[in-house]
C-alpha cells in the first residue's frame, strides 16, 4: 500500500512519518512515533483515554486520522512536564490520589489542561462538564474533580 507522509509538531518537537492511509492519530503516535502516553480504551470514541490536544483543542486521537494532522501542533501527556518539573495538574493529581490504575489519567490530564487553558478559574460544574467525555472506572471521579480545582487555584496563586 502506498504510504502517505505526515509531519507535525509533537510536544514542541518536529515529527515526520510515513503511514498507511486511514491510520488513526492514536495508532500513529503509539506504534510509529513511540509516544504511548495516549491510551486506547475503546478505539471508538467513547472512553476518552486517547485524548490529545491538537492546536489548542481537545481531540480523541482514536477518531482523528493522522493524515489530517499535517502541520498541526499536538500535545500529549508525555509533554506536560517541563524540564523535569511537573505541571500543576500532574502535581495535583498526585497529591489528590486522582489516579488508581492510571489508564484514564493521560486522557483526564489532557481534558483538564484544555479546560484550564480556556477557563483558568472554573466552577465545579465546569470541571465536571469538561471531564464528561472521559471514563474512569477506578476513582469514582471525585478525587479527579478535586485535583483539577486544586490545580486551578494553585495556578491563580502563581499568577497573582
Amino acid at each position: 500500500m502506498a504510504k502517505i507522509p505526515v509531519q507535525f509538531m509533537l510536544n514542541g518537537a518536529e515529527k515526520a512519518e510515513f503511514i498507511d492511509s486511514g491510520t488513526t492519530l492514536l495508532n500513529a503516535l503509539r506504534d510509529k512515533i513511540g509516544d504511548t502516553s495516549p491510551k486506547g480504551g475503546c478505539h471508538q470514541g467513547t472512553c476518552g483515554a486517547c485524548s490529545v490536544i491538537i492546536d489548542g483543542e481537545l481531540r480523541l486521537s482514536c477518531l482523528t486520522l493522522a493524515e489530517t494532522c499535517n502541520g498541526a501542533a499536538i500535545t500529549t501527556t508525555s509533554g506536560l512536564s517541563q524540564g523535569g518539573v511537573l505541571h500543576p495538574l500532574q502535581r495535583a493529581f498526585l497529591d489528590a490520589f486522582a489516579t488508581q490504575c492510571g489508564f484514564c489519567t493521560p486522557g483526564m490530564l489532557m481534558a483538564a489542561k484544555v479546560l484550564l487553558d480556556h477557563t483558568p478559574d472554573p466552577s465545579r460544574d465546569e470541571v465536571v462538564e469538561a471531564l464528561s467525555g472521559n471514563i474512569c472506572r477506578c476513582t469514582g471521579y471525585e478525587p479527579i474533580i478535586q485535583a483539577v480545582l486544586t490545580a486551578a487555584r494553585s495556578n491563580s496563586q502563581n499568577a497573582a
Partner: protein
Amino acid sequence: MELRKSYFADQRTDDLHEIGQPRPRSDSPGHVTGKTAYFADRNFPGMLHLKMVRSPHHHARIRSIDTSEAQKHPGVVKILTAKDVPHNVYTILILIQIGPEDETVLADGKVRWKGEAVVAVLAETERAAQEAAAKVKVDYEVLPAVFDMEEALKPSAPVVNEYHGRNYYLYDSGECRKVRFGDVEAGFAGADHVLEQTYQSSPIEHAPTETTGCIVAPEGNDRFTCYTNTQAMFFTLDNASIILQMPGNRLHFVGGTVGGGFGGKVDVIVEPIAILGAKLTGRPVSFIYSREEEMQISSPRAAEKVVIKDGVMKDGRIVARKVTGYTDAGAYSRHSPYGAQKGAGHYPGPYTIPNVWIDTYCVYTNRTPSSAMRGFGVTIGDFALEVQMDKLARLIGMDPLEFRFINAYRDGDIKAHRQPTEGAALIECMQEASRAANWPVAEKFMAISSYAKGA
C-alpha cells in the same frame, strides 16, 4: 480521620504512624507523566495480530470448519483450530485440584455460549486478521439452549457441558455445597415469625478502561516472554504451561500493571493461544480484546439467586436461617465452583445463629462463563442478607441497627461452619457508624464489645 483509641484499647500499644496518613502511591508519578508501561505499550518489529472467530450461537454442534478462503486473505500468516492446541481441554482451578477439565481453548465439536472462541487468525495487521476471520466458514447445527438456572436444573433440560454430564457442579458433598448446624426446622417451629424472601441479581461486567490482552515475544533461546495485564501472573503461567504442554521455565511473564481489573482479569484466556501463535510462527503476537469483546466476551460476575428463610423472635434474636443459593457459572466452571462454595460459608453473615441450613449450587447454563469479581460469591449474598435483616427488623418493629447489635457475632461464638469467631469487630464498627451517621441506639448497645457476651 480520627481513629478512636477506646476500641480494643488493650491491643493498642503504640500510636499508628501510617494509618490515616496520606502517603503517595509509588506508581502515581508514572501515571501522571504517561511513563507507566502497560502491556500494550510494547511494540515489536514483525508483530502479528490475533483475532478470534467466535460462535454466533448459544449452543451448537460444529459440523465442519473451512478456513481455505481465510487462508488466502492477504496478510494472513497462520490459522489455529482446536487440533493445534496441545492440551485443549482445561480448567483453571485444576491447579488446586478442582476439576474436571471442562473448557476448550478453541471449540472442539461444540460451542456452549455465544461468543465462544472457535478459530484464531494471525495476520500482519489487525485489519487483515479481522477481515480473514470473517471469511472462516463454520457449519453449525443449532442445539436447544438453557439460560435460566432453575430450568437448567430440571431433568428435561439440555446438558450444557458434557464434561460434567449434568447442569450443576458435583461437590464432594453432592449436588451442592452444604452447611448443617443445629436443627433448623425446630428453630422455625419455635420462632415468633418466619420470613422467606428471594433475591436475584444479573451478571455484572467489570468494564475496565484497559481491555484484556497480552503481547508475546519469542526469545532466541526457545523461551517466550508474555507481557500481560493478567491479575493472576503465576496462576496464568502454570495454566499456560499445562495447556501448551511446555515447562514453565520456558515462559517468562511480565506484568503487574493492570489498567483496571476488578477481578475480570484472573481467567486464563488470551495468554496460552497468543504464546502458541508465537511458537508456531516464530513471531511476536499481540492479542488484545476490542471494547466489544471486553463487554461481551470477558467473564462477568455471576448472576445469582438467593432464597433466605429466617426464624426470628420478638426480642430480636434470629433463631434459624435456611439459605438456598444459586450461582450461574455460564457454560464453564472457571472460578464459579469456588464462588458458590464461598457463599455457603458466608450466608449466616456476621451474625450468630444457632440453627443454620445452607445449600449452594453452581449451575451451568448457555450464558457467558462468569468468574471472579470483587468478593464474588459473597457480595450479592451480603446485599440479600442485609436487605433481609432490614425486613426482619421491620417485621418485629425494631430499629434495624439495634437488631444487628443483638445478633452480631462475638469472639468465641461458633459459626455454622464450625470455626470459632476470632477478631470480631462488627459491634465496634456499628458503634462508630451509629456516632458518625448520628443514628442513636440504646446505651446498652454502646457499652458492649466484641470480646465476650455480657461484657
